[in-house]
Amino acid sequence: MTITLLLFASYADALGASTLDVELPRESTVGDVISAIRSRHGADRLPPRPLVAVNERYASLESVVEEGDEVALIPPVAGG
């Protein structure tokens, strides 16, 4: 299945992309999505357990993802 991974701010700069399509087996978790991109250039600048969201809601790395889900890695927020 294909999962869309969104990257923002410093994470987008690190990976050189703001969107990645990630191919994964069914029953994969958010943690698996991150593991799948660990070999990409710049991924070493991501923290071991980044904050994540699934379909615009904060989620845990253990959350199971489904085909078509939008997963986002959330850098430390700095609004205000």
Binding site: S10, A53, E56, I74, V77, G80
Partner: protein, 148 residues
């Protein structure tokens, strides 16, 4: 009585935000403005660009306003956050509260800005006088990097 949560790319008009919370029930009307500060962590800042995961940021702002209205006993709460390129002194965020009493107004205003900073997916990149730019990471540095 009005509650409002919005992300904008144009300059924020503070009076317009205040007008949104006007109501005869309110004995206290409070406006908080966050602005771009010229010096941060000892570095000369010339501007900031704000980026967001916009759909989620809107969802979180909506949730903060709904929770604030439910917790603090007033329907009159308006939050506007600006995105894009801002210069020093530009207003990045405006929070207006209308409340029957001042204690409730101050408490709600403070609660909203702290929740916003904690959970709304917005990021800022400071532009420095030496031409460099850096994403601000406030994690682990209490209040550091905050323009407010």
């Amino acid at each position: 009585m009005t509650s409002l949560a919005s992300l904008v790319r144009e300059a924020i008009d503070p009076l317009e935000v205040v007008r949104a919370v006007a109501d005869p029930a309110n004995g206290a009307v409070l406006l908080f403005l966050g602005a771009v500060r010229q010096v941060n962590d000892g570095r000369d800042v010339t501007g900031i660009d704000y980026a967001a995961y916009e759909a989620m940021a809107q969802r979180e702002l909506d949730a903060i306003v709904a929770e604030g209205v439910a917790k603090f006993g007033t329907p009159d709460l308006a939050v506007v956050h600006r995105l894009g390129e801002l210069a020093v002194e530009d207003v990045s965020v405006a929070i207006a509260v209308g409340h029957p009493h001042r204690d409730g107004a101050y408490a709600l205003s403070r609660w909203v800005i702290e929740e916003l900073k904690r959970r709304v997916p917005i990021w800022k990149r400071e532009h420095y006088a030496d031409g460099t730019r850096e994403w601000v990471d406030p994690s682990g540095r209490e209040h550091a990097g905050a323009p407010t």
